[in-house]
């Protein structure tokens, strides 16, 4: 069973796996979570703005993104982003976008739909009296959101936001379909080069498992702490 298990393959591949692969994965996860949070909050504010058309547009976007498989969305943006780039920059031909930029845009747009639902729940969890009080104090809508509502919404939703980021961290492995060298992509390239699928995929699984486990353990502790404060 494990008789010809070769740890040497893993050890020799470590620098490649982590410098190339894990850096890409973590950078993509971090930036996509940040971008997704910003856009997601904007979408949530649109939905709660009270303007019918804005709310409609945001709602359709969220429902649309959430009913498509991520793999299909990755393919969509992979082919679409060059054309969007052409349209934005006014170039005469579709511009070439790097693998990283393309997947980053994909994940930001995709995750924005999910983050927006979390932020919407967070904003709605703030009691009505608070924005009313802010309004009575003479704060503008932007100030109310900036100083009163959003900080609390963000804090209340922090465990859920981090959980979603863990899901995002796992989902970034799907850039595999574009043959991009993320952590899993790197593992798979070494696996195929050396014919060592068992070692590399098991190792990749253990690494993903460990990181996600530690992160979700952290979320549970955070949840306990926040629950006491409230």
């Amino acid at each position: 069973m494990f008789s010809n298990f070769d740890f040497g393959v893993i050890i020799r591949a470590l620098p490649y796996l982590f410098y190339e692969g894990m850096t890409f994965t973590l950078l993509l996860t971090g930036l996509a979570a940040l971008g997704g949070l910003v856009f997601g909050t904007a979408i949530a504010l649109m939905r709660l703005s009270g303007y019918k058309i804005l709310g409609r547009i945001a709602g359709v976007y969220v429902d649309f993104m959430r009913s498509l498989p991520l793999v299909l969305v990755i393919f969509w943006f992979y082919f679409l982003v060059p054309y969007i780039g052409q349209w934005v920059t006014g170039a005469s031909r579709p511009i070439s976008v790097g693998a990283f930029a393309s997947s980053l845009i994909t994940f930001i747009m995709f995750e924005a739909a999910y983050f927006s639902e979390i932020m919407r729940a967070g904003i709605q969890s703030i009691s009505r009296g608070q924005p009313a009080a802010a309004n009575a104090l003479g704060l503008t809508y932007a100030q109310t959101m900036r100083y009163v509502v959003l900080p609390q919404a963000f804090r209340n939703m922090l465990p859920v936001l981090i959980t979603q980021t863990i899901v995002l961290f796992q989902d970034t492995s799907l850039v595999y379909v574009l043959s991009i060298t993320d952590f899993l992509g790197a593992a798979s390239k070494v696996a195929q080069r050396d014919g060592r699928l068992v070692e590399m995929y098991l190792f990749a699984a253990i690494v993903y498992f460990t990181i996600s486990c530690i992160a979700s353990f952290g979320v549970r502790r955070l949840q306990a702490r926040i629950a006491i404060i409230r």
Partner: protein, 228 residues
């Protein structure tokens, strides 16, 4: 392959998507229910097993899990069994259904656990007081209520199962997204291919959501949280 129109290709992809999703969903429901119940049992060992099950299947990307089932498992089995597994006809289909099924079972288990623990404690006590065994208590009292409560989240988990079948193109399952991809490669009509697939996914989504809404209304008990 190679015969029929592009629409036929896409539709056959859709059928494969649905077949995989339904089989995976059955597996997810069966194992998810068992594990979800185990997590609510008083037994420490059962709770621990349920905890391990959920953490194991939840903390690895689906893609990695599919690779483990598809590439790694046959190598770890005894030679004859591994060979049999590799030569199985339709191996990507079975692997995808089982892999996605187990992956989703962890999510079903969490939902069911939440559903059972949302029931008032008195229900379980009343069942015991009436002389029902634990098994009967779950069968006749707790589970019928819990499943009704978690029907909406289960709907979205079923939709997730359908969407997750697209991940199986990495192990060679040519389902809807895979067919759209090959249509795009044959015809170079990128946007047409993906638009068609997108519309089909939206349609499936709409059908499932509508059907589940009917189911919710059909099983609702008047006077309860989930009823009118």
């Amino acid at each position: 392959m190679g015969t029929g129109t592009y629409l036929d290709m896409l539709l056959s992809g859709l059928v494969l998507t649905l077949k995989t999703a339904v089989l995976a969903w059955i597996i997810a429901l069966v194992f998810g229910s068992l594990v979800g119940v185990m997590r609510t049992l008083p037994s420490k060992a059962a709770g621990w097993f349920g905890f391990c099950w959920v953490e194991f299947f939840r903390n690895m990307p689906l893609l990695v899990q599919l690779f483990l089932w598809f590439f790694v498992l046959p190598e770890l089995l005894p030679k004859a069994a591994g060979l049999w597994l590799k030569q199985l006809p339709n191996a990507p289909f079975w692997t995808a259904a089982i892999g996605i099924g187990f992956f989703m079972s962890a999510r079903v288990a969490i939902q069911l656990q939440a559903g059972i623990s949302s029931l008032p404690r008195g229900q379980k006590m009343a069942a015991t007081a009436l002389g029902l065994t634990t098994m009967q208590g779950y069968r006749y009292i707790l589970l019928p209520m819990a499943f009704r409560i978690i029907l909406p989240p289960l709907t979205s988990e079923f939709l997730n199962t359908i969407k997750n079948t697209a991940v199986a193109i990495t192990i060679g399952l040519i389902e809807l997204t895979g067919q759209a991809r090959s249509m795009q490669e044959f015809s170079f009509q990128v946007f047409e291919a993906f638009t068609a697939a997108t519309i089909l996914y939206l349609l499936v989504n709409a059908v499932v959501v509508t059907a589940m809404r009917f189911l919710e209304r059909w099983v609702a008990i008047p006077g309860y949280i989930t009823g009118k």
